[in-house]
Amino acid sequence: MKLLVCISKSPDTTSKITFKEDNTKFDENGVQFIVNPYDEWYALVRALELKEANNGSVTIITVGTAVDDAVIRKALAIGADEAVRINSEPHDAYFTAMQIADYAKTNDFDIVLTGKETINYNGSQVGGMIAEALGTPFVSLASKLDVNGSTATLETEIVGGVEVVEVNTPFVVSCAKGMAEQRIPNMRGIMAARTKPLNVIEPSAIEALTSFESYELPPSKSACKMINPENMEELVDLLHNEAKVI
């Protein structure tokens, strides 16, 4: 079974978010980058489990610059066999997805796994775009994935519940909570990661379709109004008359 896992970097979840150059760019100064949690905890770990049970290989792919190599090595330390980096800034989701699809087209993968979303741009776009470019089915927001030969059974989140679906390989899946448990890389994994192949490929000529023009921080909250714990009638009254939410 050949599996391709799309890995992106994201700022550590505790990062303070600030912008520079007149609020047009994210200020990476002092920000620690990690593997996007959905990609690492769910997509990558489930891919490794499937490989362990069925043989095959796990390739990780990132659209990014040399700065991303540290994050890629971390994903290799968790257990991926090899890495591919498309050497470019990921200009937008379309650009990123088309690069990954171009690579996937020349290598027959049974399943392409992405995270549910990146925790910086929260788009949930890249997986569906890859599926369309490859002309394969797409299962989004999967919380479970089992494979039997060329047939996979998945659970996906739908409004207010879950759906059990079946699909044949090849397909693309975006992975959410429930898929797998986080794995902490061990020393052996970290050592091995240093010598695993990391192939750098130049990008295809693709125009981005969107761009982030500027950013803003949300208006800061006014001070919290404290309510006497004995007096919940007052809280209900404020929620009704002042906040007008009940």
């Binding site: 910086n120 929260n122 989140e157």
Partner: protein, 312 residues
């Protein structure tokens, strides 16, 4: 020129579908709604009240398969000459929107929270810690609207409903089973949410949370550790790695307010925090705070809500 809106009509017309129609109307062009499935014409015609000029329905498609729906929406966009396609940013918008973007080579803005202003569309980024303004460079545009970003505006007339055949092809994804708990309010759609964390000590203490939620007509949610240790089902986990919600009211009891939790709830209009620790970080993000024991405060709040309802 027209704006095409994909509507999920499988279980009646949910609020987020009406929001999407209202949003499309605000874009200023003729609004054509397209849906799949088997909804009644009389139900679909009411979309006209929110601004649809016409509704198309392809009854040959009865799944949520992203390939089939993409085929139908792309065919409708061609035949209606639509330069913009609008979705709600729900599970269909998240699977069909990206496909359609590639199919039409149309830039996609996922999770829009406002109509375009000076050609830029606002979205939440960094899990709600900031907002970004996106421009689309292509002539055609796909926009998915974050639920609860605007109020549906009704008051218009019903509109015509027409059959449409978009040559959907076959479904690549086969649905074997679907489990939707009866009678529960789905979390992403809920306007009121009552949530609790590790401060509640054990799953046996959730009765009071459910009771308050029931009294308010609210959905229930929880922090991540509570779902991870199995006190509550996974779909209730809100935050950066769980569900992101933006209800009108979020009541959090026994939750410390870690930054990853806040990332999923900071879009809420009003936040009420109940915590024994006056230093809990959550108070910094709250509108109303109660320093007290959830085991006393929550039942007291439930009583107060009951009294409020009884007095009309």
């Amino acid at each position: 020129m027209s704006t095409l809106v994909y509507i999920n009509s499988n279980n009646g017309l949910a609020k987020n579908t009406l929001e999407a129609i209202t949003y499309a109307k605000k874009l200023g062009e003729e609004v054509i709604a397209i849906t799949t499935g088997s909804a009644d014409d009389s139900v679909l015609a009411t979309l006209g009240q929110y601004g649809a000029n016409k509704v198309l329905i392809d009854r040959t498609v009865n799944t949520d398969d992203s390939q089939q729906i993409t085929n139908v929406v792309a065919a409708a966009a061609e035949s209606m000459g639509s330069n913009s396609v609008v979705f709600s940013h729900d599970f269909i918008g998240k699977s069909v929107g990206p496909r359609l973007s590639v199919r039409l080579k149309a830039g996609l803005v996922p999770g829009a929270t406002d109509i375009p202003r000076n050609g830029k569309i606002r979205v939440n980024v960094f899990s709600g810690k900031a907002m970004g303004f996106v421009s689309i460079k292509s002539a055609r545009k796909v926009i998915s609207l974050l639920p609860n970003s605007l109020q549906p505006e009704g008051g218009g007339e019903n509109c015509p409903v027409e059959e449409f055949n978009g040559n959907a092809g076959i479904a690549g994804v086969k649905v074997l089973d679907s489990k939707v708990p009866e009678g529960e309010i789905p979390l992403p759609e809920a306007e009121l949410v009552v949530s609790a964390g590790r401060g509640l000590k054990g799953p046996e203490n959730w009765g009071m949370v459910e009771e308050l939620a029931k009294e308010l007509g609210a959905a229930t949610a929880c922090s991540r550790p509570v779902a991870d240790i199995g006190w509550r089902p996974h779909h209730e986990h809100v935050g950066q790695t769980g569900v992101a919600i933006r209800p009108n009211l979020y009541i959090a009891a026994g939750i410390s307010g870690a930054i990853q939790h806040l990332a999923g709830v900071n879009g809420s209009k009003v936040i009420v925090v109940v915590n024994t620790d006056p230093e809990a970080p959550f108070f910094k993000a709250a509108d109303y705070g109660v320093v007290g024991d959830a085991f006393e405060v929550i039942p007291r709040l439930t009583e107060a809500v009951k009294k409020f309802k009884a007095n009309g």
